[in-house]
């Protein structure tokens, strides 16, 4: 069955956030989610990337 990978709960992130994380080479599991219910947001992913190499990521920010 498809799923969230069982009790080893994977990071809660929407498809666009997952795509951005792949794009930026960020490992979602290591990103603390600040969205509702601990969901990882695009901003979280961008921030994680900034943390890695100090460069601001070209991530879209919700208005």
């Amino acid at each position: 069955a498809e799923g969230r990978g069982g009790a080893a709960h994977r990071a809660l992130a929407a498809p666009a956030v997952r795509a951005l994380a792949r794009q930026l080479g960020v490992d979602l599991q290591s990103v603390p989610g600040t969205g509702p219910g601990g969901r990882v947001t695009k901003d979280d992913v961008s921030a994680a990337r900034d943390g890695v190499d100090g460069r601001p990521a070209a991530a879209a920010r919700p208005a």
Binding site: A1, E2, G5, A7
Partner: protein, 467 residues
Amino acid sequence: MDTKTFDAVVIGAGPGGYVAAIRLAQLGKKTALVEKESLGGVCLNWGCIPSKALIAVANLVDEMRGAADRGIIADQPRIDVEKLRAFKNEVVKKLVGGVGTLEKGNGVEVLRGAGRFVAPNAIEVKGEKGEWRVEAPAFIVATGARTIQIPGFEFDGKDVWSAREAVDLPEIPKHLVVIGGGIIGLELGSTYARLGSKVTVVEALPQLLTGIDPEAVRVVQKNLRQREVAVHVSAKAKGLDRGKDGLAVRIEVDGKEQAIPCDKVLVAVGMRPDASGLGLDAVGVKIGPKGFVEVNERYQTSVPSIYCVGDLSGPPLLAHKASKEGEIAAEAIAGKKSVRDWVAMPAAIFTEPEVASVGLSEEEARKAGYEPVVGKFGFGALGRAIAIDHTDGFVKVVGDKGSGLLLGATIVGPEASDLIAEAALALEMGAYLEDVALTVHAHPTLPEALMEACKAALGEAIHALNR
């Protein structure tokens, strides 16, 4: 033999291949699409689409039969087989033509013929209009699956139909025996039943629609019973007798044999992957024990230049799974970082009523380490369902008790195939039961049942009593 060169070549123009080709072209790749029969593959030519055209008509016939209860005076409807077939063919023609237009519009070159690998970077295509050697740095194989035959019931297109013949509607048999009570068997079996056949379903396993929530299956089974479809489960099809009065299917149930007289047999026991004649072995592509080509998360096979998507790359054998994989493989070839990462792969079954599911069942959730909490809401208590007079069925959601995370949904009832989309999006978004429960749902509509089921899981149903 002429040689043609492309950036990427797709073999097989079903929903996996034709979508992959469009996506490759969109991403700037010079692309060829090789197809030996008809654009659209199984899905458009004798699968998803034509079966649903027939099913929609069967649904309408059914509604017409019950129309008197709602104050509509009309004769009992009859079927004009030729005209129905013509309608179905028209639907197929429109969509197959559409695929051709889309490929052309995106600049994909369609090569008519059967493709076969002669090297990891080259295939030969043999068609009626020509033969080419086609070279490319990347290939996507999307040649699908074929229907399984069983001994004693070899397809002859006359007495013994495969899904392909059944979907073509050669006639409406007086008595049709359907071997296989899975999705295709029940979709087509109940269609013929509504079009006027007496139908008997023979299933080897103890349950129809194996893999689907038994409570949902019971709703479908009740409907079959109401329309006097005979169902034999745990029944083995032993053989076919051809007498001068017609056919008889011999089955064995509980060690006892019986014969079911009939005039047609539909064998719908499943599909298996079809890699034959592709020369994959020869170029070193690894094929798994069940015949599915082995792929990584980008749908790349053991030979890096060769990708594989759709029915041939593994279950579930569904058109939208094929298309999604086609997109991912195309994007991977074009250098994007796409991988298989979906959370939700919905499945829809077009029986009466429809069944659809996505995510984890209660049992799967438990196995995955969650403490499942279940919420259910019956269409019998939903305004919209009562107003449209389709009240059989329910929405069932599974959540995680501790976190409140939504884990899965099963829907049986009116428009279940459409309603599952909201649940799939919820899963992809990482929604909690509360997210769906708190979202305003227009009244009176069917998706209110999903909202109520989520509320029920939280002990807060409005239109049902919370125990």
